[in-house]
Amino acid sequence: MTEFLLGAAGFVLLTVAIGLIRVLGGPGNVDRTMAVQLLGTGGIAALLLVAAATGVRGAEDVALGLALLAAFASVAFVNSAAPEDDREAGRANE
Amino acid sequence: MSAPTLAGLTGAALVGLGLYGLLVHPHPLRKLLGFNLLGSGVFLLFGIIARKGAAAGFAADPVPQAMVITGIVVAFCATALSVALLLRLFEAGGAATLRPDVGRDDSD
């Protein structure tokens, strides 16, 4: 069972990370943000699987922390990008 | 190869990468990223010292771990202060460059 859990962790991590590395190159910042979001979820899944396999104490709390912060980077991106876009749109309309 | 050795080699490579970014990149924000990579490489080296010091029923030596936690906080403080300085520089001079001649005269 341990081997299976570790294998699954590696599989999930590799699939999402390969997706991330492909998408980091572009096309746009929105896609990059989505790729990091997917890596965040995949990372949490891999962490839970590794924790169950190796029996590290307290790893669920790390997963809880990561889950609480899962939306953080994307929110910062959307939040700081939005007013800028408003201004650009305003200028285009004038 | 054991997990700590592997993490240690990763740390060594990260120190080199971060140092390269810090030296070569002209953009201050990218220098900061290099600085953070360098720092986290050093922390990983502390991590393998901790793991190889596993004894007395602890999975890893707690002293290097505590030092890494302190280090992460201090590195964050330095990063935040640098970002604030950089944004202020950009506001004041309209450019994010470390060249001393830009911003003082506008002939550039």
């Binding site: 709390d61 | 970014g21 793991r51 004894a55 002293v63 505590a66 202020r88």
Partner: protein
């Protein structure tokens, strides 16, 4: 090769791949996004090194709070990259720098490969004195008792960094509302998240501070989560960022270092040394100090991320 080795190797390769991306990427935003992903992967490495306290700190700081700081900075600085493109050093200097960095890496790698296993350790020493602190988590014992001076100074550094950031405010904005002006439109989904997440986050943060005495966790990790919750509320514009002249804010900022220092000085009177805890009272005192430290951290981190005020308070 066993499954766990394959996992460790792929994790190391991924960490390096994302790190290389943050250095070679042409676009600053893409590099910063890479760094956020990097922080998450590194916290998995820390779990594999059985350093769960560090993993928790790295998760909260590396991919959380630092991520928000750098992403906002990258968005605000967009368009400045073209101007500095001319400042790239020549090919010769770059090769030289790369060679130097390779030498540094090779030297560190040699140290790693020749490191004795098991290596030098203070773990038995920590274990011997753990009972005196009545704590169960050796990392918390090191942070709060054996090397308490480091932690006290770290909190002072955090405080000084806040002062440093504030001092960058223009004269007219001193005492004003922290951080850049934000648009007033409230987005429905974000407001929903900012109402639902903080109650859960506060419970988890208190849980992490409380169990920090015996299990992985502690003041810094819990404080960082609290800080993140406050920042979500500010980013959703459900609440205005505080004015930096506000007395409550300033009291919260100094509470941690001040209480820690006071308890440390009390050590002279009751236990004959700075930062010494009287026998039998070590654990309650440590938890008492940690509560105030959590508060200070939860307030300092958002102040560092928001930056100096750029408008007056009224």
């Amino acid at each position: 090769m066993s499954v766990i080795q394959a996992l460790d190797i792929s994790l190391a390769v991924l960490v390096l791949a994302v790190a290389i991306w943050t250095i070679v990427s042409r676009d600053a935003f893409a590099a910063v996004v890479g760094y956020v992903a990097y922080g998450l992967l590194v916290s998995l490495v820390w779990v594999r090194l059985f350093a769960v306290d560090v993993a928790l700190t790295e998760a909260a700081i590396g991919s959380g709070v630092t991520g928000v700081l750098l992403i906002s900075a990258a968005v605000r600085l967009r368009g400045t990259e073209a101007a500095v493109a001319a400042e790239w050093p020549g090919a010769g200097s770059r090769v030289l720098a790369a060679a130097l960095c390779m030498v540094v890496t090779a030297a560190l790698a040699a140290v790693v490969l020749t490191m004795p296993d098991p290596g030098a350790t203070l773990a038995p020493e920590a274990a011997r004195h753990l009972a005196e602190t009545e704590l169960g988590n050796p990392v918390t014992a090191v942070l709060m008792a054996f090397r308490a001076l480091d932690t006290l100074l770290e909190k002072v550094v955090l405080f000084l960094a806040v002062i440093g950031v504030w001092s960058l405010a223009a004269d007219g904005n001193w005492g004003g509302i922290a951080g850049p002006r934000r648009a007033t439109n409230r987005q429905g989904a974000l407001a929903f998240l900012a109402q639902l997440l903080p109650p859960v986050g506060i419970v988890v943060a208190i849980h992490i501070v409380w169990i920090g005495a015996n299990e992985p966790g502690g003041a810094f990790q819990g404080g960082a989560i609290l800080a993140a919750m406050w920042m979500i509320v500010i980013m959703a514009r459900l609440a205005e960022a505080p004015a930096i002249g506000e007395r409550r804010l300033r009291l919260a900022l100094v509470a941690g270092p001040a209480v820690f220092l006071a308890v440390g000085l009390m050590g002279f009177a009751v236990a004959n040394a700075f930062l010494a805890y009287p026998a039998g009272l070590a654990k309650p005192l440590i938890v008492f100090v940690e509560v105030f430290m959590t508060l200070s951290i939860a307030v300092s981190l958002p102040m560092l991320v928001l930056g100096p005020p750029d408008r007056p308070s009224s």
